[in-house]
Symmetry: C2
Subunit: 287 residues, 2 copies
Amino acid sequence: MTRIDRSLAQSLALASGIEAPPLLTKAMRYAVFPGGARIRPRLCIAVARACAEDHARLSSAAAAAIEMLHCASLVHDDLPCFDDAVTRRGRPSVHKAFGERIAVLTGDALIALAFQGLAHAADTAPARLGALIGIIARAIGAPSGIIAGQAWECEAQISLAHYQRSKTGALFAAATSAGAAAAGYEPSSAWYSLGERIGEAYQIADDIRDVVSSEHELGKPTGRDQALGRPNAVHHLGIGSAIERLEDLVRSAIEVIPVCPGAADLRAHILGEASRLLPRELARPAA
Amino acid sequence: MTRIDRSLAQSLALASGIEAPPLLTKAMRYAVFPGGARIRPRLCIAVARACAEDHARLSSAAAAAIEMLHCASLVHDDLPCFDDAVTRRGRPSVHKAFGERIAVLTGDALIALAFQGLAHAADTAPARLGALIGIIARAIGAPSGIIAGQAWECEAQISLAHYQRSKTGALFAAATSAGAAAAGYEPSSAWYSLGERIGEAYQIADDIRDVVSSEHELGKPTGRDQALGRPNAVHHLGIGSAIERLEDLVRSAIEVIPVCPGAADLRAHILGEASRLLPRELARPAA
């Protein structure tokens, strides 16, 4: 078990007990395990390590909080009133498996648990808790977190820049910022930009896969952006320019890494992850 | 404007901005203003005062967090998949006024904002933040917060004790516990019990009003518990025993108030509130 999954399991244990309604407990675990690629929490840990983390339990809890909030957003985005997604990660979505009411409550309870788990793990470094809660709450709420990003889909006039920055960028920026804050580093716009650029690269990679991967196993339907009228970088830029933009973003992310003891390892982590971003037939050797 | 409403407005300002999706911002404000009786945050402040609060901004923020979480739960409980309530506080419910998607996101964003506002106000007393986040997150999540309480409605076999303790008691217990913690008091089971007993008294008063107030203006439909198959103390105990139970709870709440500088004022606050719990024709002079 990785340290991320271990920290997620520890948080879920806080939410369990004989007094818990069994379906909710089961659905919360189902939404979190088995996970997807755990991209955001791995990025958070990579930054904490690069900053020579001195409270590993706290950085693990920050990573787990970010992953729980990502899972909560997937559960709510899949609801009938949004994407009405039948499958997620290759099996029934939470509302298909447990019903719509439990799906609403699962998302709610995971949001609460993210903050609870973080506060629980901060007992050995209480002075860092305020910054961490601030970073993570801003990344999910209004005006420009992932919930605000989803709310742009309900507007007649969509602000594309705000939509993409909130919907994907915010939680990636929280992953890098929280990794640094958990290691005792002061908040900085460089850590924020690092996450934002990586997030935009992932968003473009997602857009590309949504268009070109119909023959591949994605674990979810392709062509969804077009079907749901959502913005997609390939539709805007064309496939060639979208790939170039993605590569530019990875390069500029690498450049913005602040001075820290493990900067070289962090650079390697980001390049390694980036090399897996594109479907194999589109990938070019990393810069 | 009361200090509670001022603190709520300050939190909502954190969630606003030109980069925010306008409908979401509007719906968050609509869910919180104008308020109901603000019972839970007033209880939180009354306890903080009784404990000779030294960081009034922090106790106001704790009270506002609890109220935002209460409002978030009302927005989600009113959704079509739960109570499908058309009105709330005498006007259209959030999903009727803004649509189901914005209603889901409004609840989510208010949960995030509750924690953000609290962290923001704790900058002058950071050592108290961990306990406050823990108290408040436990009160809303699983295994026994208000979300868990709502999830009991999805179970085939409902645990009545767990249902009522979670659905109402948890947030009242958080109000008293957080009021004390914001004033620097150590967590204690007495502050918790005080809130729990008051919460149970309010639940019984609600049950009584749901049954007997069909001729009164409640701002929401009556007879809902029977219509929705929900437990109601009057159905279980009869009206006379339900009133006796309510009066017992208020008495036992008064008795459990811990030693603190403002215990007499707190006792007066609770008795004053309790005197308004029952419809006028059922009320007897307070003990």
